[in-house]
Amino acid sequence: MSTLPVALVGGRRRRASRRRRMLALLGLLVALAFAASLMIGHTLYGPVDVIRVIVGQDVPGASFTVGDLRLPRAALGLLAGVAFGMGGVTFQTMLRNPLAAPDVIGISSGASAAGVFGIVVLGLSGPAVSLVAVVAALGVALLIYVLAWRDGVVGSRLVLIGIGVAAMLDSVVSWVLVRASQWDLQAAMRWLTGSLNAASWELVVPLLVVLLFAVPVLLAQARPLELLQLGDDAAAALGVRVERTRLIVIVSAVLLIACATAAAGPIAFVAFLSGPIAARSVGPGTSLLVPAGLVGALVVLSADQLGQWALGTRYPVGVITGALGAPFLVYLLARTHRSGGSL
């Protein structure tokens, strides 16, 4: 019996150190991807020039390209990736289902529909569209939650209703697109596929503010969220205030998703894939919020680089993540099946 605690502690320490190493690795990869976004382009700039621009010095050529074009783009990619990753994994954890990501259950559709509607029908542009999108996404999330509520919320019911709402909103989007003029179509398409092309500080700063608020709130709920995975009854028995936790967590996650969608469009599959990828890297048993955020950032930054320079045409990041997401989805589910997990 005296040896047991040591063995127990040993196993726990091993797992904890593995998680720390993976987290560090993820952080490093994100930093590299960020740096690459600043350095790579039609003109290659070295790290020295990049640092000088960031610091505020005036470097001919680089100041504009790196400072005004690439920096906001990379920042947007980073922040949007974190937001999608954390928002997505929150939904997946809360609904106990990796397929129940916000882009599947209608939250992103709500933001897109509002954005498209705002541009084409209401003739809005810029921050007004973003605001409409955020309000709409929150409204849709609330609607879904209310519709799914009957003596409390059942995960499966929430998901199904979300799918129904998403279908309805997607058809609205299609209809609006048909009405769109050629000019509006370009702007409207951004709301459908997700792109960093329109990145500017105007878009980045509000997103940063929201992240600074929502991320700590989510992190504070990390442990109750983990416990919710055990089932509502077991979590309540362990002292978790189930409904309250769920509400806080949903609002924060929706806020993150909506603001990121407003800034960068609904970048397909990032919210959906970040959680499972993080789970496979860091291992089970801990909160996936931070790893998923890092994975999300990594995916968005890498996909954007890929879309811009690696293929013939310049593809927006949403198309790349969408195209890659499809086979990854199948792979993911095949792995789940083999390990005996359930969806």
Binding site: G11, G239, G341
Partner: protein
């Protein structure tokens, strides 16, 4: 006569889901430090009653008291330190290992920053030891057998270090050998630690064998409550289960054994 201390008391509770009334005006007391088993036919309200005792369901009438206080007035975390529940279909997060799952049971004892103390470590170790799953500590829960998994869930409830433990059908889906294994474990925990145990069982004979206090429900009302010898009689069994039977003494334990006619 000095009645044993009653820790958890249900006082004239009425329970319903929406407008469907399950339990009406039911009163029940769990003897402290004893093993109470609740039995009854399907859909008689036994799980509903247990959930109300675990504060998962708010009574529409009456109340549930823990040490004299209405459970709904006790702060959630504080209640979780006194009352533990093993629900009917607990879900194990994918890939989690036994030690980590059992560690979740320490949540009510941990501060806001979740610092892991030696006390937590000791509690987890003791729980693993008591349920006999110490050598499975690093194995993923998904890979265990049904009986082993149930023991792990019990270990998690044990790590919570509560004085009352509620279990909703802990033996479902287990074969007989594993059912006995789990029930023996619970009996031993009750004897060694003095934990008050209350569980819902669907097998009347096992209930009679392990219970100190047996409660028979029918259609949301208590038909009989007392020792197994008092409750498991031919008349009561016929009334509660609709089964004509003969009651004999179990040759091994001496407790009542129901033999259907």
């Amino acid at each position: 006569m000095n009645a044993p201390e009653n820790q958890l008391v249900v006082e004239r509770a009425s329970l319903s889901y929406g407008d469907r009334s399950i339990v009406t005006d039911l009163s029940l007391a769990l003897p402290e430090g004893g093993v109470t088993v609740i039995v009854g036919a399907n859909a008689c309200g036994k799980s509903t009653l247990l959930r109300a005792m675990a504060r998962l369901l708010r009574p529409t009438g009456g109340r549930v008291l823990l040490d004299g206080r209405d459970v709904h007035t006790i702060p959630t975390r504080q209640l979780a330190r006194r009352l533990g529940l093993m629900p009917q279909s607990p879900i194990a997060p994918e890939g989690i290992v036994v030690a980590d799952l059992v560690a979740r049971g320490r949540h009510p004892h941990q501060g806001p920053f979740g610092r892991w103390t030696t006390a937590d470590e000791a509690a987890v170790a003791a729980a693993l030891e008591a349920t006999g799953v110490s050598d499975l500590a690093d194995r993923p829960v998904d890979e265990l057998s049904g009986g082993q998994r149930q023991r792990v869930w019990i270990a998690m409830a044990l790590a919570q270090e509560t004085s009352v433990l509620l279990l909703d059908e802990p033996t479902t889906y287990l074969d007989l050998a594993h059912q006995i294994e789990v029930l023996d474990l619970l009996a031993r925990l009750n004897a060694e630690r003095g934990t008050t145990v209350a569980m819902v069982l669907h097998d009347l004979n096992l209930a009679a064998r392990y219970a100190d206090h047996l409660v028979a429900l029918r259609a949301g009302r208590v038909v009989a409550a007392g020792t197994p010898a008092d409750v498991v009689t031919e008349d009561i069994v016929e009334e509660v289960f609709g089964l004509p039977c003969m009651v004999v003494a179990d040759p091994v334990t001496g407790t009542p054994l129901v033999v259907p006619r």
